[in-house]
Symmetry: D2
Subunit: 349 residues, 4 copies
Amino acid sequence: MLHFECDYTEGAHPAVIEKICSTNMEQTCGYANDRYCEDARSLIRQLVGIPDADVHFLVGGTQSNRTVISALLRPHQGVVAATTGHIAVHETGAVEASGHKVLTVHSADGKLKASDVKELVMAHYADADHEHCVQPGMVYVSFPTETGTLYSKKELEQLSGICCELGLPLFIDGARLGYGLMADGNDLTLPEIARMCDVFTIGGTKCGALFGEAVVFTGNALGRDFRYLIKQNGGMLAKGRLLGLQFLALLSDGIYFEISKRADRLAMKVRTALEAAGLELCSPCTTNQQFVYMPVPVLEKLEEKYVFSVAPCGREGWRLVRICTSWATTDDAVDALITDISACMEEKI
Amino acid sequence: MLHFECDYTEGAHPAVIEKICSTNMEQTCGYANDRYCEDARSLIRQLVGIPDADVHFLVGGTQSNRTVISALLRPHQGVVAATTGHIAVHETGAVEASGHKVLTVHSADGKLKASDVKELVMAHYADADHEHCVQPGMVYVSFPTETGTLYSKKELEQLSGICCELGLPLFIDGARLGYGLMADGNDLTLPEIARMCDVFTIGGTKCGALFGEAVVFTGNALGRDFRYLIKQNGGMLAKGRLLGLQFLALLSDGIYFEISKRADRLAMKVRTALEAAGLELCSPCTTNQQFVYMPVPVLEKLEEKYVFSVAPCGREGWRLVRICTSWATTDDAVDALITDISACMEEKI
Amino acid sequence: MLHFECDYTEGAHPAVIEKICSTNMEQTCGYANDRYCEDARSLIRQLVGIPDADVHFLVGGTQSNRTVISALLRPHQGVVAATTGHIAVHETGAVEASGHKVLTVHSADGKLKASDVKELVMAHYADADHEHCVQPGMVYVSFPTETGTLYSKKELEQLSGICCELGLPLFIDGARLGYGLMADGNDLTLPEIARMCDVFTIGGTKCGALFGEAVVFTGNALGRDFRYLIKQNGGMLAKGRLLGLQFLALLSDGIYFEISKRADRLAMKVRTALEAAGLELCSPCTTNQQFVYMPVPVLEKLEEKYVFSVAPCGREGWRLVRICTSWATTDDAVDALITDISACMEEKI
Amino acid sequence: MLHFECDYTEGAHPAVIEKICSTNMEQTCGYANDRYCEDARSLIRQLVGIPDADVHFLVGGTQSNRTVISALLRPHQGVVAATTGHIAVHETGAVEASGHKVLTVHSADGKLKASDVKELVMAHYADADHEHCVQPGMVYVSFPTETGTLYSKKELEQLSGICCELGLPLFIDGARLGYGLMADGNDLTLPEIARMCDVFTIGGTKCGALFGEAVVFTGNALGRDFRYLIKQNGGMLAKGRLLGLQFLALLSDGIYFEISKRADRLAMKVRTALEAAGLELCSPCTTNQQFVYMPVPVLEKLEEKYVFSVAPCGREGWRLVRICTSWATTDDAVDALITDISACMEEKI
C-alpha cells in the first residue's frame, strides 16, 4: 500500500537522522538548555529576522497550541478561530481542558477574515450583558489552513492590523508552515509572517522531523515564564537537545524549505491529474494537501492500492478525500497514483 | 419606569419573605443539612414522584449547570446543547472553565431534536480519528428553552429515548420550569419530566424565590458525592436553610405553579396585543418570555416608560425585543404596556 | 439545644431582614448593577478610605476565594498560604479545581510570617530547576485566622512589605473581618488593612448577613474584568441587590462593628470561664472563636445541651472543641454555658 | 566535564537508534496504531503477565502522570502521594492544572506506608465536614522513589491491600522502573508489580530510550477512552511508531534490564567509594541515584571536572548532592570519579 493519508507516515529526513546519530553519545544538559537548542534558537531568530525573539521547542502540535493559548489568556477569555481550526475540531478539547472556549467563526475556505474578527469583538462589547459571555482574548489562525488554503500578504496584514487595533494577540499555527511558504502563489516570507503576529509555530513533525514544533514569540513579554507552562503541560522533553538538533538539521542548509517545495510540487501534480480526470477539487489549494470529491466506486478501486483520509461530504455516493504529499513522497508513488486516478475515472465513464 | 426586561427585577413572593422572617432567629445547622431542607427534599421527591430522588439546593443557575455538568462528564467529554443553550452563550464559559466543550447543534427554535443528537453521536464514532475529537458525554436542554419554546411530550420522549439508547445522561435546565409547566399547550407534567431525564433543576430565582435552584437527580448513582462538588464550585450556602425555606414556601401550597400560570397568562396578553398591533413574534411561545421584532422608532418611544431586553436582529432599523412577565408583574403594568404598544404602532402608521 | 458550633446558625440581623422586606417589591436591574449595590460600594470605599477601590459582591466565601485567586494567578502560579488556611483545607480543592496549587507554609498559630514567605520564594528561585516547580504568585492570609488569631499591625506591615518587595499580590480573607477588627488587643483599622493588601474581603455571612462577601480591590488593575470571573465562577447573583442591601444595612450605622464587638465580648466571657475551670485554651485568641482542649466525659456531658465543633487533637481521651459566638448569641445562652462548664469540670474532679 | 547530574544526558542505547534508523523510510499509520506499537504492546503484556493489559505509549513522565491521574479521578478527588513525590514537587503543578489536589503524606524515606494511607482516608471520613475537604481518590507511588529507595514486596503488598480495601486505585510511577527491578536487594518482579497496582508506567526516557513511557493499565476498565485523554493532554505522538520501536528495541532481548543492572552496579561502586571516603549517604539506596552530603569545598573541587545535581540541605557549609549513573555511564568515568572523590576528601583532611 502507498500512503497518502497524511504527511507523517515516514520517520525523518536523513539529515535529521544523521544529526541524531552522530551526537548520540555526547553528554549535554537536559530540558532544551543545551548548546544545540541554543544554536537552533539563534538560527531561528536570524531566519525570522527578530534578534530577540523568544524561541521554545515542544514535541507536538496540540501540545504547542494548548500551551501557547493557556499562556496568553486570562480565565474568562476565549480564542477566536475558524470553525475548521485545528483547535476547534481535532484536539479533543485541549483548549477547553485548559479552561477556555474556542470562539468559532464560520469560514468557507478555512481562513479567518479581519472583518469577521472585528464584527465578533464589536458584537461582544455591544451586548449589555457581555460579562455573561466569554471575552475574545486572542486570535488563532493556521498557515496553511486545515483545508490547505493560504492567507495572502494583504489578508494577513489586515488580520494583523485588526488584532493590533483590538488588542488581541495573533497566534499563527504553522504546523505545515514550510508547505505554506513554498507554495505556488504564496506572497509571504517567514520574516513577514513573524512580523505580523505575536506568536507562531514552525512545524517540524509534518515537514521532515521525527517530531518537534518551534514556538516563536515575536515580542518578549508574552512568552514570560513560558518554560513553566511547557513543563506543566507535559511538553518539556528531558532530552531536549533532540529538538534543537532536528531544527538545526532542517534549517541550517535550507532543507526545510527545499523538501516542502518539492512536496508542494508533487501535490500540484496530483491536483492537475485530478482536475484532468474531471474531479472537483474542494478548495483552491497550492500546498501539500489536496481535497477532492470522489465517487465511492472510484475511491474503493483506488483504496486497493492507496491509503487516503476519507470523510463524508454530504453528497450521496461521494466522499471528500484528502491526498497528502510530504518530504518523503517519491515521484514514482505520485506517478503511479496519477495513472491510477486517470484509469479509474475513465473506467467509470 | 416599568421593568419587563427579565423575570428577576423584584425580590421574592411574600410567602417566601414571610417564611424567612418567621424563622430568622431559629438555630439550625448549616450547609443545607437542616430540617427545612430535609422537608423541602421530601416534598420535591413527592412532587416529582420519585421516592429516592437525590435532591440538592444551590444558589444560582450558572452555578447549578457547571456543577451538574462537571459531576457527570469525564475530562475528554463534552455536553451536547443547542447553539442557543444558556451554557453555550451566557455563562462566560463556565462549562469550559470546568474543562469541557459545549458541542453545539444548530437549532432554529431553541430545541434539540432527538435526530440531531443521534446524528452528532453517530458522526463522532464514524470518524476514524474520533479520539482526536471531544466525545459527546451528556445532553443539555432547557425547559422552557432560552427562546421561550417548549418540548412536547412526544419530542421529549424521543430525546430521552435516544439519550438512553446512546448511554448519554440527559440534563434538563429548569431555570423557568414553572412557566413551562403552566404554559398553554404544554402537555408535560413534572413527574413526566423527571422520569424522562437523569437530572433536572427546578428554578427558584426566576419563579418567586429570592434565589435558589433545586437540582434533582432522578436516579441515585449520578449524584454520588455531589455535595463535594457543590462545595468545590462555591455553591454550598452556609445558611443553607434559606434554600429549603424558600422551596417549602413556594411548593407547599402550590404557589410556585399558581404564580407561574399567572405570569404566563399576562405574557400571552402582551403577545396578543403585539400581534394585534401587527408586529411579528419571533417564536410560537406560550411562556412568560415573548420575543418580538420592533422598529427602532416604536422601541424608542416605548423605552421612555418601559425597560426591555434588546438585541440586534440582522434587520436594518429593527430590533429583537424580549418582554418578560413574572410572578410580580401587575395587571396594571401589562395593561399600560398594551395600550402604549398599540398607540405607538398606530402613530407610526 | 443551644448552638455554639459556628457563627451561622441563625438568619440575619433584624436590620438586614428589615431592609430586604421593605424593598421587596421595588423593581431594579439585576446582577449587582442596581442603586443599592452602587450605594454599598460607595459606602465601602469611604469606610476603607480608598476613593477608587473596586468593590464587588459575591454570595459566599469559598466562591470569593476561588474567584479572586483565579483572577490573580497565571496558570503556572500557586498561592502561598498557611497549612491551616481555609483555601488549603476546607474548600474541597476549589483552588486546585481552578488549576492552581496552594503552596503551604507550616504555621503553629495560623499566621503566615513575612520571613517564611520570603524564604519560600527565595528557595524557589534558588532551585536551578525552578521551572519544574509551581511559581509563587500571590499570598493568602485570613484576618482573623482560621484558629482565631490576629495579625498585629507590625506583623501585617512586614508581610505586606515583603509581598510588595517580591511582587506578590496580598489577599486578605476577611470572612470574619468584623470579629477581628473589634477584638481586644487588635491594633489594626479597616483603612490600614485595606492599605496593606491588594485585595480583601469583608465577610457578611458570619457577621450578621444572610449571606454575602464584599471583595475589595484596593488598586484598580487587579480587579480588571472581575465581573466576567464572578459570572464564570457561578457567583453572579441575579437579584444582586440583595447583596448591596445587606451591606448597606450592616455598614450604614455601624451595626457590623457593634455586633462583632459584642460577639467578641461574649466569646471572651466563655474563654475566661474555660480558663477558670482549668481547661487549656489552644491559642491566644480574642475573637469570636475559642478553641479549647476538653476531656471526653466533660464534652459528652455538655453535648447534652450544647452543640460545638469537635475535632480529634492527638491526645487520647481529649478533643479539640471550637466554641463560637455570633451577632445572634444571647447573654443567657453564654451564662448557661459558663455555668455548665464550671459544673461539669467540678463534677469531674 | 563528565555528567552525573541525571540519567538523561546522552541520546539512546544503540539498539534503539538502530531500530529507528532501519525503519525510517517505512510507511505506517500514525498515533501509535502501527504494527510496531502493536508488537510492543503484546510484548509488554507478556512481560507483565497480564494478557489483556491495556498498554499505551506517551512521550514523557509528567505527561504520563497528569494524563493517568486525570483519567482516574473525579473533580472533587485528590491523589495521595509522599511529600517527596514527583507529582507533588517537580511537575509545575500539572496535577493541579488538571484540577486535582495532591494530598501529601510526610515520608522520611520517600515511601508511602500502608498505614499512613489508611490513616489519611479514615481521618477524611471521620470529619463531619468531609465534603468540605478533597476526597482521597487514588494513590501514587514511585518505584524506585524520588530518593532512590525501593518498596519491598511486603511493603507493596500491604499498600496494595489497603488501596484495594479502601477502593483507591494504586498508580506506580516507574520512570526508573528498570533501575528498581535490577537493584541489589529488590525482591519484586515485573509481574508482581503489575499484579499489585491498577496502573503503572515503564520508563523509557531514563532507561535507554530517546524518550517514551509505557502506561500499563492492569485491568481494563480504568483505561477506558484513555486515548482521548492522551490526545487532549498533548501526548499523542503523530509518528507514534517511534515509541513502539523504542520499547521493542529495549524489551525484546532484555536490553532494558541489562543496562539498568549495569547502571545500578556502577552507582553502588560510587556509593561504596563515598562511604569509604567518610561521606554520609542520605538514604539506603541501591538504585542508580545516590544522594550524599558533601562539604562545599569538596564539592567545588569536584565540580571542576564533574556535573552533579546539588541542593541545599539545611547544614551550613554542606550540600545534598545527587550522583546518577545510567545505561550510558562508562566504567572509566566512574573510576575517575571515585579516584577524585577519594583524593578530594583526603586533601581536605
